[in-house]
Symmetry: C2
């Protein structure tokens, strides 16, 4: 029997991708599921639907709820949470670096980025923050320059197009090998159940 | 020690209010929580945010996901699910009848409405369907005429204004006595935990 695989589509600007990134590996391991970390940009996906800003900024009532909801979710997980300014953060450089990495290095780098952004409230648009995330992931901070190379830029564009072609409209989104989508940190457990059992 | 109370704000047009309405009483009872059923209209709340239609119609990619998500959620609960046409349904008459009822009668009527609408795909704008829901709830079908009376109309308007004042922007929403909001059927368990423990 092959190991079930789940794709974890994440966006660095997404608040709820943070607890998902911190929870997914031990939960997936406990269910015997392998995780494929898939960085993408949500901005172009939302723009294609007519959004010019984060829905949390367009609809401030929803934004206020989200801020409260992510805080109490992180509290329950004993994860520090600070809303970074500005919101949403510009995660372009870090997303490019994530696609330039593979396997466990990509996962470790992504977790380091989330820790800096939402755990410590650091600004992701600062290249020094990206370099610090690389360092924490055990990588050479000089790797930050890879974000400026054309093949890496193209790889992130392709990843974002793949997300759109899957019907992804938010982050985090979990996709099983039979193409079931589960949107939101709070659907991680359901997604793992589906990956293993093919039903909820 | 007083019994914890949770408000269950529901809208008949809302797909995910259906599984919530069918799940809430036994789950709340198991946690020692009392449920206050609160009907309201989501349309005016969304209109105040600039929406002219259901977000699921405005953003069809999200609508397609929601349809799939509610179907697999109901499958897991062994609840029949049929998407009614048109979507969203006009639940005005039934919402007025729900505010005209109290306590367990309101809850039984609401469950009967949801069963007809999403379990059997019946059209809520049909007064015969509203009358059938009354009958299934053990009430006189002639009570359907209460929906046309001014005090009932005013009571539903007041309920909708109360929802807005609480910061509600979607349905179902659960509100604890210390005014914590939990949006979505999948947050029911978290809301009950908060009602009992004051934290997640």
């Amino acid at each position: 029997m092959t190991t079930p695989v789940i794709q974890f589509w994440f966006e660095f600007a997404s608040t709820f991708s943070y607890p998902a990134a911190m929870r997914i590996e031990p939960l997936a391991k406990a269910r015997g599921v392998s995780v494929e970390w898939k960085p993408f940009l949500l901005g172009p996906v939302l723009a294609a639907q007519g959004h010019k800003d984060s829905p949390f900024n367009i609809y401030p009532i929803k934004g206020a709820y989200m801020a409260r909801d992510v805080k109490r979710t992180c509290d329950a997980l004993d994860l520090p949470f600070t809303m970074p300014k500005p919101f949403p953060q510009n995660g372009l450089r870090c997303a490019r670096l994530a696609v330039a990495l593979e396997g466990p290095l990509r996962a470790r780098f992504a977790q380091a980025v989330y820790q800096l952004e939402f755990g410590e409230g650091r600004d992701l648009s600062d290249p020094l923050v990206a370099a610090e995330a690389l360092r924490r992931a055990g990588l050479d901070p000089a790797f930050v320059d890879r974000a400026d190379e054309d093949d890496v830029k193209a790889a992130l564009r392709a990843a974002t197009e793949e997300a759109q072609s899957l019907g992804i409209f938010g982050a985090p989104t979990f996709v099983t090998s039979d193409k079931e989508l589960f949107w939101g940190n709070d659907r991680l457990e359901a997604a793992l159940t589906w990956a293993v059992e093919g039903r909820l």
